[in-house]
């Protein structure tokens, strides 16, 4: 391990300017530690975003040596084997400054994908009973741990090629609600995800699944949506 790390950091909003910093190496150092060191010790004007530091909030996601990752859960030695780091903001989102992106378009697509719980009218006053072992609950469980960090959205080439594409996170969210027996908004949801910008646009590259820090599989969720849309179409419901 050399004593310093050579870190190239995206600055501004253009994608053209990178500043280089020499950062002292420390044992068990995370990429977030590196960014924090730069801001505190070298350049206080550096903009970046973080909150929890422990992989719960998802706000510190950035592009590290070309891969989208949570910087707080990425050790320097796994991302920069040769002692060099290039830090960029997440792809596919407008850059606010330096390493900060505007997440508004990302979450707007969750709304577009009908990723909002809509209670069924006939639920009644009592709690709905959802057996944990039921297939629908198991399918929702497999996808429900998403914390909305945007790593999958940044990894997705289809989002880059087709900016209207709802993207893996929004479609994954829709899939959890398609499997929610308490939800009454399924017709609108399936219509939303069956649009040109929806699940059928997925190319099954699997980059979302490959890079998801929670080891979720939006690819499988999108495949589930395709099957749900087909079933609804065959029944004449969509």
């Amino acid at each position: 391990m050399s004593d310093t790390l050579s870190v190239s950091v995206h600055r501004g909003t253009s994608g053209a300017r990178f500043d280089r910093f020499e950062v002292p190496r420390l044992p068990a150092q995370t990429v977030l530690d590196v960014v924090t060191w730069i801001q505190r010790e070298a350049d206080p004007t550096l903009a970046y975003r973080f909150a929890c530091r422990v992989g719960m909030c998802g706000s510190c996601a950035m592009t590290v040596n070309g891969r989208p990752r949570w910087t707080c859960r990425t050790r320097v030695e796994t991302a920069a084997r040769d002692g060099r780091l290039t830090l960029e903001p997440l792809r596919n989102l407008p850059v606010v400054k330096d390493l900060v992106v505007d997440m508004a378009p990302f979450f707007a697509k969750w709304v577009k994908a009908e990723g909002v719980f809509t209670p069924r009218a006939d639920l009644g006053a009592d709690f709905a009973v959802v057996p944990p072992a039921s297939p629908a609950r198991a399918a929702a469980d497999a996808a429900v741990e998403c914390i909305g960090c945007g790593v999958c959205y940044s990894a997705c080439d289809v989002v880059a090629w087709q900016p209207g594409y709802l993207g893996p996170a929004a479609l994954n969210r829709s899939w959890t609600l398609v499997n929610d027996v308490r939800d009454g908004g399924q017709v609108a949801r399936l219509a939303a995800v069956a649009s040109d910008a929806g699940c059928h646009a997925c190319h099954s590259h699997g980059s979302c699944t490959q890079h998801c820090p929670k080891a979720l599989s939006p690819t499988a969720s999108i495949a589930g949506l395709k099957r749900a849309v087909l079933r609804a179409a065959l029944r004449g419901e969509a």
């Binding site: 099954s204 699997g206 490959q210 499988a220 495949a223």
Partner: protein
């Protein structure tokens, strides 16, 4: 452009699926054009088919078989992703199997050509 976030089995499989599909799409009209020479009589077709004795054409044919076998096998990958539970748990195995099937079929074809 090759970028770090694309360097994983699923993406390589999708790229080869796309490229083999394009190759087959380009080949198909040429294939019909070749068959169309029969409209000019058996001699015309035979003269064209004599070209297939050349090693270069045999190599191209092997490439074509590779593209066809790969495209078919990678279609199985897509079916696997679309219809089987937890496809992400088997990505590397399935992609390796698809590449294996494609290469094995092309090799068998090439061996048969030289037999």
């Amino acid at each position: 452009m090759m970028r770090a976030h694309r360097n994983h089995a699923g993406w390589w499989a999708a790229l080869l699926h796309r490229l083999s599909g394009l190759a087959l799409a380009i080949f198909l009209p040429l294939h019909f054009l070749a068959l169309g020479t029969a409209l000019g009589g058996a001699d015309a077709l035979d003269r064209f088919l004599d070209l297939t004795a050349s090693p270069l054409v045999k190599l191209a044919e092997t490439g074509l078989v590779l593209a066809l076998a790969l495209h078919l096998a990678l279609g199985l990958r897509v079916l696997h992703v679309e219809f089987l539970p937890r496809p992400e748990s088997r990505t590397r195995t399935v992609v390796a199997a698809c590449f294996g099937i494609g290469i094995a079929v092309a090799l068998l074809f090439a061996l048969n050509l030289t037999a």
